[in-house]
């Protein structure tokens, strides 16, 4: 079965990240990269990973609504929640338990969460 894994980040951590200087952010990022490379390196060859998207910060989001034929665009994410979507991965897993086992290894799961949603195949 195909699942979409919604990767969230803790909103406080996102806010702290926003306050970093570009140099600090680069260093923090360099610290994170090996964890992801290890995961991709291990799971990549098994074929369980589909497309993946790392999203830019929620502060770069725009939210679009159309009301009475008029397009209204606002800055910021759709909802201000305690955890914010920061990425998305497609996972091919035998069943939900197998998907959970993969989700439990995605680096964001230790400080925020991974939401698994079955994909409707058309």
């Amino acid at each position: 079965m195909k699942y979409a894994a919604l990767l969230t980040n803790n909103a406080d951590e996102v806010a702290a990240w926003e306050r970093l200087t570009p140099e600090e952010a680069a260093a923090a990022r360099a610290n994170e990269v090996p964890k992801w490379e290890a995961l991709f390196g291990e799971l990549g060859p098994t074929g369980v990973l589909g497309d993946g998207f790392e999203l830019d910060s929620p502060t770069t989001a725009k939210t679009v609504r159309v009301r009475d034929g008029e397009t209204v665009v606002t800055d910021g994410p759709f909802a201000e929640t305690k955890e914010l979507i920061g990425g998305l991965m497609e996972i091919e897993a035998e069943d939900l338990d197998a998907a959970i086992a993969i989700a439990a290894r995605i680096p964001v799961v230790f400080t925020a969460s991974v939401e698994l949603r079955p994909v409707i195949e058309h």
């Binding site: 725009k62 939210t63 439990a104 058309h122």
Partner: protein
């Protein structure tokens, strides 16, 4: 640049549409799936099927339901290839859910995604 258009809407609304209305909307979604700017996307099963995973210490905590309860739920997404976020927003406005829910447009991090 790639942009993710996250589609939020009222899940109960679909149940109340007539067959004709559903077919018309599905037609719009299919047309968007085939648009030149579209690089991918998925329809997600309802939030009733969602499972949220957290690991704290050595413990894996699995809960039923989405990571956050919202009045309008994430129901799917498109991946658009556009020159700017404004162009991506123009495409987002064509998504039927923009007329009753909302579309969150997010730039994909420049070197994000899977390593090749």
């Amino acid at each position: 640049m790639q942009y993710l258009a996250l589609i939020y809407g009222d899940e109960a609304r679909w149940e109340n549409l007539s067959t004709g209305q559903r077919e018309a909307e599905m037609g719009e979604y299919t047309a968007l799936s085939q648009a030149d700017v579209t690089r991918g996307g998925n329809e997600l099963d309802s939030t009733a099927t969602a499972t949220t995973v957290r690991v704290r210490g050595d413990e894996t905590l699995v809960t039923d339901g989405p990571f956050a309860e919202l009045k309008e739920a994430l129901g799917g997404y498109y991946v658009f290839e556009c020159d700017s976020i404004d162009e991506a927003c123009t495409w987002a406005a064509k998504i039927p859910a923009a007329r009753h829910g909302a579309i969150e447009v997010r730039p994909v991090y420049a070197d994000g995604g899977e390593p090749s």
